[in-house]
């Protein structure tokens, strides 16, 4: 057994020999580095990582990781990853997916994996567009978006990843921005440590087909005022001057200024990512600019039993009390008779 304490990796150890083929300027490059950095800091032996993906630009990810990897078929990565993790709970299983892969064609597998709480770390690249098929709207595209398949604007309400995760009984949801490597790395590390399905939504830019879609909140000039990075146990303040904050006003979250209306930092909501009741987490995950800042960081991280552990425990329990220990026992169990 390798002593995990002694394992020292650098980011380079997780780079495969494959040439990275995403478009220059694509947000995926930054996600790749952040994940490689996070993995190098986890202290988990390299051979224990398995990266599973579906189809789409982001799903090429496993080829660029010097780990075990399986590039699957469209939408099915959650199911493949579930099989890997149930079979071998000792592996650190990561699913790389996009808004189309996870929420359209793979929506069913995605919600059921989350519901079962299988310990998989899902990184969902949300660029609100189909990139690999060259620019059609996705289930997260804003209503009205003009694309090749919606030349007069989409007529559909978009999914919000966080709302869907919480609706599917999700226990871990975080949001980050592709270019924010330090925030992303720290989130990936926490996602890996969390036991159960961890969903990390990455606001990712597609330079070709949906360029700048997240700029309104992620642009350097405005991001401090239009996003809030949530930290467990800390008050919810944000803004360039750190003087804006969130309070609970009746049934709704409200943006306030510290100092205005006698509001002090003590009045602000204090983030509790571990609270099992999803009410506030849901509201935080739903916040949209311009009414609210967009919540980044770990929004929800509730300890909860995982599916694959329960599978193992059930088998152990039953085996302890069963008289059937092998196939010969089974074959000869129940009604059998001898023909002389």
């Amino acid at each position: 057994m390798t002593n995990t304490q002694l394992i020292q990796y650098s980011l380079k150890d997780f780079k495969s020999d494959q040439e990275v083929r995403w478009c220059p300027g694509c947000g995926d490059h930054a996600v790749l580095s952040s994940v490689q950095k996070a993995l190098s800091e986890l202290g988990i032996p390299k051979e224990k990582f398995a990266f599973i993906s579906g189809i789409g630009c982001s799903s090429r990810f496993p080829y660029y990781m010097n780990t075990y990897g399986f590039h699957g078929i469209h939408g099915r990565a959650s199911a493949i990853a579930s099989g890997v993790k149930i079979a071998n709970p000792d592996l650190s299983v990561w699913q790389i997916t996009g808004d189309g892969d996870a929420l359209a064609i793979g929506g069913n597998h995605f919600i059921h994996t989350v519901r079962r709480n299988i310990d998989i770390n899902i990184i969902l690249f949300n660029n609100e567009i189909y990139g690999l098929t060259k620019g059609q709207y996705s289930p997260t595209s804003n209503k009205g978006l003009v694309t090749k398949t919606s030349p007069f604007g989409t007529l559909e309400e978009p999914f919000s990843v966080g709302e869907l995760v919480i609706g599917a009984k999700g226990k871990f949801f975080a949001r980050t921005v592709d270019t924010n490597v330090s925030l992303s790395t720290s989130i990936y590390i926490e996602a890996a440590k969390h036991k159960g399905t961890s969903v990390v939504e990455v606001l990712q830019n597609c330079v070709i087909f949906n360029n700048g879609i997240h700029d309104v909140v992620t642009d350097k000039e405005v991001r401090d005022d239009r996003t809030i990075i949530l930290k467990h146990g800390e008050p919810m303040n944000f803004g360039k001057d750190n003087r804006s904050g969130l309070i609970l006003d009746g049934f709704k979250i409200k943006v306030v200024r510290i100092g205005g209306n006698n509001i002090t930092e003590k009045d602000l909501l204090v983030h509790n990512a571990h609270e099992s009741n999803p009410g506030i987490h849901y509201m935080l995950a739903s916040m949209r600019y311009p009414e609210y800042p967009v919540a980044l960081g770990i929004i929800r991280a509730v300890p909860w039993p995982t599916y694959e552990t329960a599978v193992g425990a059930q088998i152990n329990d039953i085996q302890k009390n069963s008289e059937i220990k092998n196939m010969d026992d089974l074959l000869n169990s129940g009604s059998v008779w001898e023909v002389e």
Binding site: I80, V84, V339
Partner: protein
């Protein structure tokens, strides 16, 4: 238990229990067949039930039946026409009248032949008269009132009392066939361990039926002596359980763990249910959110080093097609079971058919070869599930195992194998060597790639659905694609190394070769043996290996004047044979009614062909 003056010796008999789907006919038939098996008869059974859990009471659509064919000699089919029909209501008469022998015995519950039930079954008056059955051996037993009388002091509610009607009928059948009641009584005691009152009521009804049959003196007991069966230890098994057990046995022989990812679908669900119950043997089972997740979780488990299977029926196989393609590209072991049913679409979910053969062979995008094998009896589902697992684990290519509703639900006595007698299974696992591991580097002989299990240091690699080079690098090079397509096809072809030669039942050279595949075996062998004993020069060849085909097919076919291919579809296997062996002429016998052939229709067609008509 009472005198039996006159006993008729018979070689075989077919008895059909039939009633409303709530009447407990499946249990009645099962108990009868287990009793017969313990006595030493050979037998074959087939349940036949509606797709609706409780179809409208008293209607023909709601009739549930269970047929038992037992004999003093080898029995290969559940029997086409019944010698004895037990009918719990008028609808059961209507549903079965076509399937009883001339002059057979019909035992029916007189009390359920009410005006209302007669009308529901579509009769105007007395069903026996309307069907012109007066000259049959008709036993109009007042079953409902007899159980009410027998249990009147028992304090049971009227519904529970009437629920014992099936035990009364079973008791009558036991008397008729000279059987003991102890097995059934033990069953009732165990089944209703916590409700001793119910157990007792069932036993009383059983005995009441037995004594009633003795008292009326219109039934003649029939003796069917034990069959000359090979020595050994036996049990009854149905095809779905046998399939499930074949996989567990294979996992044990391969030293691997077993994973099943499946979605419930009739008539395949029994395999998932059995494997879900086998936690004692460490089986991991997942009832997935859909058919696609079933196969994809299985494929994930295979990637992680398990023997992985997914089970389904026709429409579910269609949903799994894309993932089978992925398994072919990833070159991972995976068994896909298709328990065929009547199609297309939802079709006839509870009925049998063999119409998924071409889907199994070709129903995927691209050049996508898989090994296709088919079981041919309920009990040999064990052998072919084991074989499917062996092939997939040794050849690193997905295997499609075809059974059907008739095999899956049908049961027969089975000589229990010993694990020590089954072959070891060895997968080509990758080892850490001096050279770096290349995921698509192949074994020279079988052309299999080597299986590197996640968690093994030094073997990190990537696989997937995109075309790859030997190194696992994505490649669009035209020549590479053709090379890989051809090598995947050749890899499947080389599975033939351990495929046994096609067996001929009968002479190796004759006037007519009857050809079948999979589940038609039982009816074909029965028909061919009868034809042979009647002096016809007929032999049978029934295929279990479809792709690759056995090596001696051409040689076998060339020795016969005529060939007739019999299958429960419009001629899919015949087409496949024409494609592979064009020099022969293939006559066809096809039936697409959701039910197996009858021995008679096979014989009639063979004779016609022999007579040159």
């Amino acid at each position: 238990m009472g005198k039996k003056s006159q006993v008729i010796q018979k070689d075989e008999v077919v008895i059909r229990f039939s009633g409303d789907s709530g009447d407990g006919m499946q249990l009645t038939g099962t108990l009868f067949s287990e009793t017969a098996a313990l006595y030493g008869n050979d037998l074959s059974t087939f349940p036949d039930y509606p797709a609706e859990i409780r179809a409208p009471q008293g209607t023909v659509g709601g009739v549930s039946g269970f047929t038992v064919h037992l004999g003093h000699s080898e029995i290969n089919t559940p029997g086409d026409y019944a010698d004895v029909l037990v009918a719990m209501n008028p609808a059961a008469v209507r549903a079965n009248v076509m399937w009883i022998k001339e002059g057979s015995t019909i035992i029916y519950d007189k009390d359920s032949f009410t005006d209302k039930n007669i009308e529901k079954a579509g009769y105007l008056g007395d069903p026996i008269k309307e069907e012109k059955l007066e000259n049959y051996n008709i036993i109009a037993a007042p079953i409902s009132s007899m159980v009410k009388e027998a249990l009147k002091d028992f304090g049971l509610d009227p519904k529970s009392v009437l629920r014992t009607k099936n035990m009364f009928a079973l008791g009558m059948a036991y008397w008729m066939f000279n059987r003991k009641l102890d097995y059934t009584e033990d069953y009732c005691d165990k089944k209703f361990k916590n409700e001793p009152g119910i157990a007792k009521a069932n036993t009383i009804a059983l005995r009441a039926g037995y004594y009633y049959a003795e008292t009326i003196e219109t039934l003649t007991p029939v003796q069917i002596s034990p069959a000359p069966i090979a020595k050994g230890r036996y049990r009854n098994i149905n095809g779905n359980t046998a399939t499930a057990w074949g996989f567990i046995a294979a996992a044990e022989k391969a030293g691997l763990k077993l994973f099943i990812g499946s979605y419930p679908i009739t008539p395949a669900t029994g395999i998932l249910e059995e494997l879900a119950a086998r936690k004692d043997l460490g089986v991991k089972s997942l009832q997935a959110e859909d058919e696609i997740a079933g196969i994809c979780t299985a494929l994930g488990a295979s990637f992680a080093g398990y023997l992985a299977v997914t089970t389904t029926s026709g429409p579910g196989l269609a949903l799994k097609s894309e993932a089978i393609g992925l398994a072919v590209m990833a070159e991972l072991p995976l068994v896909v079971v298709n328990v065929q049913r009547g199609g297309p679409s939802t079709g006839l979910p509870t009925k049998t058919e063999q119409a998924d053969l071409l889907q199994a062979l070709y129903g995927r995008s691209g050049e996508c070869p898989v090994v296709v094998i088919a079981a041919s009896t309920p009990s040999n589902c064990f052998h072919f599930a084991f074989e499917a697992a062996r092939i997939t684990l040794e050849h690193m290519t997905p295997v499609l195992l075809l059974t059907d509703g008739y095999l899956g639900n049908g049961s027969e006595p089975w000589r229990i194998p010993k694990m020590a007698d089954l072959p070891e299974i060895k997968s080509p696992f990758a080892k850490i060597g001096k050279e770096p591991y290349l995921p698509y580097k192949r074994d020279d002989k079988r052309l299999t790639r080597f299986w590197a299990i996640p968690g093994t240091p030094g073997l990190e690699h990537r696989i997937g659905g995109l075309e790859k080079t030997i190194k696992g690098t994505v490649s669009y090079v035209p020549e590479n694609h053709e090379y890989m397509v051809r090598i995947r096809e050749e890899k499947v072809a080389r599975v033939v190394e351990k495929v046994p030669n096609l067996k001929v039942y009968g002479k190796n050279s004759a006037d007519l070769l009857v050809v079948g595949w999979g589940g038609v075996y039982g009816h074909l062998i029965t028909a061919v043996r009868e034809l042979q004993s009647e002096g016809h020069k007929v032999s049978l060849a029934n295929f279990n290996y479809i792709k690759p085909l056995p090596q001696n097919v051409r040689e076998v076919f060339s020795k016969f004047r005529k060939i007739i291919v019999c299958e429960i579809n419009l001629g899919q296997f015949a087409s496949y044979l024409r494609m592979n062996f064009q020099e022969f002429t293939y006559h066809q016998l096809n039936k697409i009614q959701g039910i197996p052939f009858t021995v008679k229709e096979i014989k009639d067609n063979c004779i016609k062909l022999l007579e040159g008509k």
